[in-house]
Amino acid sequence: MLGSRRSSRMRAFATAAAGAGILAGYLASSGAASGATPHPLKATRSASRLEVAVFSPFTGPNAIYGYFNYNGCVPAALAVNKAGGVLGHQIYCQIIDNRGEPADAVPAAQNLIANDSNVVGIVDGDSGLLSATVPLFSAAHIPELSLGGDIQFDKNKYPYFWRTTPGDDQAGYALAAYIRFDTPFRKIGAIFGNDQAAQGNVPGLDNGAKNLGLKIVNQQAIALDQTAYQTEVQQLKNAHPQVIVTESDPQTAGVFFANLKQAGALKPIVGTSGTVGTNYDKAAAAALGQSTYEKGFVRVTQYTATSGPAFNAWKQALLASSIKNAAGVETGYGPEVAYDHTIMLALAMVAAKSTNRVVFNPYIARVTQGKTVVHTFAQGVAALKAGKTIDFVGLEGQVTFNKYHNSGGVWSVAQPITNRSLKIVSAKDMAAAEGH
């Protein structure tokens, strides 16, 4: 899902050492202990401090994703701690900056594993990093809740990896379903960045279009960070699409959209959840003009609640949290997911009556499939104390993990900037796109 990235060899090479330095700084400032991690089965968390590692880019071109996750984790930790904590322990959100690059993320993960035995779980969300880091966290028996959509993990075999978002290929089916059943358009121009995250949408879109009788008249995998895309735009224009579907990083989108406008080739645009974020909105609005962007762009993304008990609890925790300018925090499938993930981790520990990662890991699924529906941590703890099994339904709605630890979620069509949901892509339409 998240994780369209900009990169260069020089940058990756040059920033590797500095990334490690920054990580060391973070670890030092968070008071992480040095030395090897004890085996998780033997790990004793003597301190009352439990840490949820927000493993995300906090610097670099995708730094916004780190703030998404952090801004979800912190309110969740506040809600948990206000409700008495986890088995008497307070939980904290620890920033681990992976810079959004595998070259930086792997040493960051290794350092985390080696140096911090208080970590009870990871929340993350970068498709492009999963293949590099999930094996490391799983080998270290650290539960990881992710919204990374790398399609390799559609059939995940790592027991500590959990995902409440469908693979990026599912996003392609949702795009096709929306266009077929909710718009009059039948000819699609598909423009995706050539990075792994954006390309993950393509197989689903291709198959969905085929199943629904849509025609992809032009499909391009564009190189990121170019100074001009007029040649690509001209090819798109020549194919006469009625609608453009797209995902790329914000700067690439900015240049591409500006070139699109200059060439007089503007059409309605449908983005993926990889286009969520202030940076994308800023770049696209600057290129297209605010009004054109607001009127001519929608994104098909995972649904998150904008009302109801889970939403109210989240909003209350967010506003009461230490997050700077909490009222202005960007929402819309980012902080909400990290919030849910942190609550799920906490509930799993309470349900398992243990902070031992090996012991409570299976309970991550169990707290979402019980009989008593709960929307907050406090409700969950009360139900568990009453001897009930719980089904945590948070901002993402019902979570149902399959045998691969994947949960599909619900697709929504949302406005840009406000991320307000305009409509839900029905399960029936999705099934049709998938050829069922």
């Binding site: 260069s8 500095a18 610097t59 297209l288």
Partner: protein
């Protein structure tokens, strides 16, 4: 036909941006013999400085002036003062290249810290100035091509018609002989850092204005292509850099149409390898392959 015109027009436009950057990069290397891997970060700094000083103005002439000044100052400080200090202590060429990576990182992280997690944007500039066979070229893009052409002519005149240019060419060819002729290599190198920075700054602000969106890493991507264009033409040879930029621009745009847009950024490197296989010293340089990275 429209596609061909697009490739040529925007190939030339890409080449214009690259030419300004690669001539600056190549000229500085030729005179100072320092491989400045912080060039992309200097370029990014100039966009930020222009953005801050002009209050986000997208006036191309003001941007160019501010960018050139910012680039000249930053480049001079880095090259003449910081790197100069290392050179005076006898640091090797490889060590100096590593120092420039360190400087690049410091600049980037500083810009990141100032910028925060959000990118910056200029207002949209897509006014159509001319239309050729259905392909329109914006006023700012035309200005960029014009500025690049003017800069190339200015560099040519500087190198061929002035004493400073003669001193620069002489310093690039043989420092000892230049010194024996009464020319100060130190002063000549200082001027090279200034000029290189000014060209870098102009390239940066034109890039920033055209892309409309920039961040602390914007210069990285184009620097790789700038370096490729400079090496294709013959590193250290400004005229070679001009030709290299034109080739890289046209080949990149052409590859997007003929092969795949996905390989656009790789096309420059395929061209680089192809050229170096035939002419290891680059298209223009006769001596580049014999030069060593020494102070």
């Amino acid at each position: 036909m429209t596609l061909l015109v697009t490739i040529v027009l925007f190939g030339i436009y890409s080449a214009a941006l690259l030419a300004i950057g690669s001539v600056g990069f190549s000229m500085q290397f030729g005179v100072t013999n320092v491989l400045n891997l912080a060039y992309g970060s200097i370029l990014t700094s100039c966009i930020f400085v222009e953005y801050w000083i002009t209050g986000h103005s997208s006036n191309v002439w003001l941007a160019m002036l501010v960018g050139a000044l910012a680039g000249a100052v930053i480049s001079f400080v880095i090259g003449h003062l910081v790197i100069g200090a290392f050179l005076n202590r006898g640091a090797s060429g490889f060590s100096i290249a590593m120092v420039t990576i360190g400087i690049a990182l410091m600049i980037e992280f500083t810009l990141e810290a100032i910028q925060g997690p959000y990118i910056n944007t200029f207002s949209a500039n897509v006014s159509s100035a001319i239309t050729i066979s259905g392909v329109s070229l914006g006023g700012e893009q035309l200005a960029a091509i014009g500025i690049a052409a003017a800069a190339m002519v200015a560099v040519h005149m500087l190198l061929r018609l002035t004493k400073l240019g003669l001193a620069m060419r002489a310093t690039a060819d043989d420092v000892a002989l230049t010194r024996s002729c009464g020319i100060s290599p130190t002063r000549t190198r200082a001027v090279a850092w200034l000029l290189s920075g000014a060209l870098c700054g102009i390239c940066g602000v034109l890039l920033g204005l055209d892309e409309g969106t920039f961040s602390s890493s914007t210069g990285d991507a184009i620097f790789v292509t700038i370096a490729a264009a400079a090496v294709v033409g013959g590193i250290g040879k400004p005229y070679g850099a001009m030709i290299g930029a034109l080739l890289v621009g046209l080949v990149s745009e052409g590859s997007a149409a003929v092969i795949s847009p996905s390989y656009k950024s790789i096309a420059a490197w395929v061209l680089l390898i192809a050229v170096l296989m035939v002419r290891p010293q680059g298209i223009f340089a006769e001596y580049a392959s014999r030069r060593e990275l020494v102070a």
